[in-house]
């Protein structure tokens, strides 16, 4: 077969979100791959600049449907740092507990997706069945299954009662049993090993070079975890191990994620037993003093970085979010090269991508001229004013928040 170029996405059954990969194939082998981000730009950062800090928590939480707690915690941490708020200990523990519950549901979700990508739907059904237990727990203690809304500036909004704690512990016992079964499955089932090992290799050097984070980096043998390296919430007081693996392929990433589940159960049990009493939130002024802060958070997918700049009003001047997928996306093209077409879905899925969390820009491609360009805010504004003027609407009078700020 001659060399063919095949598009994976933006619409493709293997991708849960629109994103595009252009693959050059030589038979079944991938000889070249490019990753095109930018189908999911939602203007979240801009939206944050036009709302108050408190409203922003709820927007930020909707960056991702899976690691929503990661984003909202990273954001509130940054704002609290600027405001100089001392968050009560109990709130920090609750944040850590919810964060770990979220990691459990995210990793179980990933395990199912990985199973589905290699045609092992039974694993998909099993792990999603177990994920349901965590989602129900989260619903019980926060009120919501996905966007928990538990964070607020200065603490959390709901307390964990002793009965809740008991229920969480019981569920952790059930899940621990199941997780041990998954570890056995992932390391012993022949067809699964055939499909996972040696696939999507990313050596330690390459992981450094492409700036991989989270389980992708840890599976390459890089011991990197914000929870240990730069502790936030209550992690400084909770003992746990950072799981690393030397396989540096999809198999390694699976092992790291499944073993991290066991660590999460440990963390939750410890946090529930050692949670101090006291208030669950502190008062934070409506207007945040001038200042800026960077906040790091170990999301299930890797390091999540938020930058917030305040200018003394009740709205942030700038919010910048770097989702973990952004860091890992660069390594995907490298991992795809030289592999098989059949492995493309699992290699992409193995970084646990969350593309809509990642996209911060739109690439405009002119189909007639064939060139590409990146539009900045002013260009976009002028283009839209012109577009509406052609249709008889003049919206040039609508004020530009950006210009006012300058």
């Amino acid at each position: 077969m001659a060399k063919v170029v095949i598009p994976i996405g933006p619409q493709h059954p293997a991708l849960k979100e629109p994103e595009n990969f252009i693959l050059s194939l030589d038979g079944e082998r991938v000889v070249g791959a490019t990753v095109n981000l930018g189908y999911n730009h939602r203007g979240i950062e801009k939206a944050c600049e036009q709302r108050t800090f408190l409203q922003d928590i709820y927007i930020i939480e909707r960056i991702c449907g899976i690691c929503s707690h990661s984003h909202s915690t990273a954001f509130t941490q940054a704002v609290e740092e600027i405001a100089g708020t001392q968050v009560p200990k109990r709130a920090l523990y609750i944040r850590a507990i919810v964060g770990e519950l979220e990691r459990i549901h995210s990793h179980l979700l990933w395990l199912g997706v990985a199973g589905h990508e290699v045609g092992f739907d039974t694993l998909f059904m099993y792990s999603w069945r177990d994920r349901e237990l965590v989602l129900e727990l989260l619903q019980d203690i926060t009120g919501n299954r996905v966007n928990y809304g538990i964070n607020t500036l200065g603490g959390v909004r709901r307390d964990i009662s002793p009965e809740d704690a008991e229920r969480i512990k019981k569920t952790m016992d059930v899940l621990e049993e199941r997780t041990k079964y998954y570890i056995k499955l992932a390391t012993e089932e022949t067809t699964l090993i055939e499909r996972f090992s040696g696939v999507g290799r990313l050596s330690k050097e390459d992981a450094f070079k492409y700036g991989a984070t989270g389980p992708v980096a840890r599976a390459a043998g890089i011991s990197k975890d914000v929870r240990r390296d730069d502790p936030y919430a209550a992690y400084g007081e909770i003992p746990f191990d950072v799981i690393t693996d030397e396989h540096a392929d999809v198999f390694g990433r699976t092992v790291v994620r499944v073993k991290e589940l066991l660590e999460s159960y440990k963390i939750i049990r410890f946090a529930l037993d050692n949670m101090p009493d006291g208030p669950i939130s502190a008062r934070v002024p409506r207007k945040i003093p001038t200042g800026e802060a960077v906040s790091r958070y170990e999301a299930p997918r890797g390091e999540d970085i938020h930058y917030v700049k305040a200018n003394g009003t009740d709205m942030p001047e700038r919010v910048k979010v770097r989702a973990p997928t952004m860091a890992n996306a660069a390594s995907v093209a490298h991992m795809l090269q030289g592999g098989y077409l059949a492995d493309v879905p699992i290699v992409i899925a193995a970084i646990d991508p969350c593309f809509s969390c990642t996209d911060r820009t739109i690439r405009v491609k002119d189909l007639r001229r064939g060139d590409e360009s990146v539009m900045d805010w002013n260009g976009l504004r002028e283009y839209s004013i012109g577009w509406y003027r052609q249709r008889g609407v003049d919206c040039s009078a609508i004020k530009d928040f950006r210009k006012e700020d300058i």
Partner: protein, 311 residues
């Protein structure tokens, strides 16, 4: 002449096969679902799916070869439906049989795969082309072990007709015990023929959408799906006739045995589907040549030696 038309169209031909094909599809889906800790579909779901597909608009891509695109599903259906005429159902004797009909059956069972290949190829779309190339590559890997797995029992029975083989094992049920390795090899090869996990490589959903069927829809897809269902019935019937010596003199009891045997084969196929992940095409080919073919060869050897011993 009148009876032939009845055989072809009503029983055990198209109507019976179609209805039983839907039953088997339901059994397969339900078992698969229960093994995955799901509830599974209601009993009429395959029928509802079929009716829905038939009522949908048929879209033929502009680049596709219209005549071939439309004709191929009919070819597939005709080929698999014909097989039942030479396969024993309620008794050891098929409706029609002659010395060598096993070759005809295996030949007819190859035709659906060829129509999938041609159908995908004539759709002229990227995913269907890739899928059809995979379907053909896979064909060369599983056909040889499947043929050889059936060859062994035939050598021992001393007949090239499926009815003859079935009659021999019905008379000597204990002899069927030596054919268990061949049965295993044939079951695994059947997964490849029916394009199911772990060999659903040609229509791997997450890789190449629906493979050869990507461009198919409506009535034509319904025909393809129906021929896959019927293929499952006839393959299950063939395997149970050759490997499971459970027959009865009375037609009614024989029919019950037939249903039990085919559903047992379907259960084994569904369990295999639930317990594994999809292999890559090159892993599949090397598995078939390195493990499956030697297993089938061993079966042939066992049967040849045993036949020598008996003499």
């Amino acid at each position: 002449m009148g009876w032939s038309i009845f055989y072809l169209l009503v029983f055990p031909g198209l109507i019976f096969l179609g209805a039983y094909g839907l039953v088997v599809e339901f059994a397969d889906r339900k078992i698969y679902a229960r093994l995955q800790n799901r509830k599974g579909p209601p009993w009429f779901q395959p029928f509802a799916d079929f009716v829905k597909l038939v009522s949908k608009e048929t879209i033929i891509p502009r680049e596709a070869d219209r005549r071939m695109f439309k004709a191929l599903p009919v070819f597939a259906l005709a080929a698999v439906s014909t097989v039942i005429l030479y396969t024993p159902i309620w008794s050891t004797g098929a409706l029609f049989s002659f010395e060598g009909d096993m070759i005809v059956i295996l030949y007819l069972l190859t035709i659906p795969t060829l129509t999938f290949f041609l159908g995908g190829w004539h759709s002229s779309s990227l995913f269907s082309t890739l899928g059809s190339v995979r379907a053909l590559t896979q064909l060369f890997a599983y056909e040889v072990p499947l043929f050889m797995a059936l060859l062994g029992p035939a050598i021992l029975a001393g007949s090239w007709s499926v009815s003859g083989v079935a009659a021999y094992y019905a008379a000597n049920p204990a002899m069927a015990l030596v054919n268990i390795p061949g049965f295993a090899a044939a079951l695994i090869a059947t997964q490849g023929k029916l394009e199911r996990v772990p060999f659903d490589i040609p229509d791997a959903e997450t890789e190449i959408v629906a493979g050869p069927f990507t461009e198919y829809g409506g009535r034509l897809l319904a025909l393809f799906r129906m021929s896959l269902d019927i293929e499952m019935v006839v393959v299950a019937a063939l395997l149970s006739a050759v490997f499971i010596p459970l027959f009865s003199g009375s037609a009614l009891l024989g029919m019950l045995f037939f249903v039990a045997k085919t559903l047992f084969v379907v259960f084994l196929l569904a369990a295999m589907r639930a317990a594994m992940a999809r292999l890559r095409i090159e892993q599949m080919v090397s598995f078939c040549w390195k493990f499956l073919t030697p297993l089938a060869l061993a079966q042939v050897l066992i049967d040849v030696l045993l036949k020598g011993l008996i003499k």
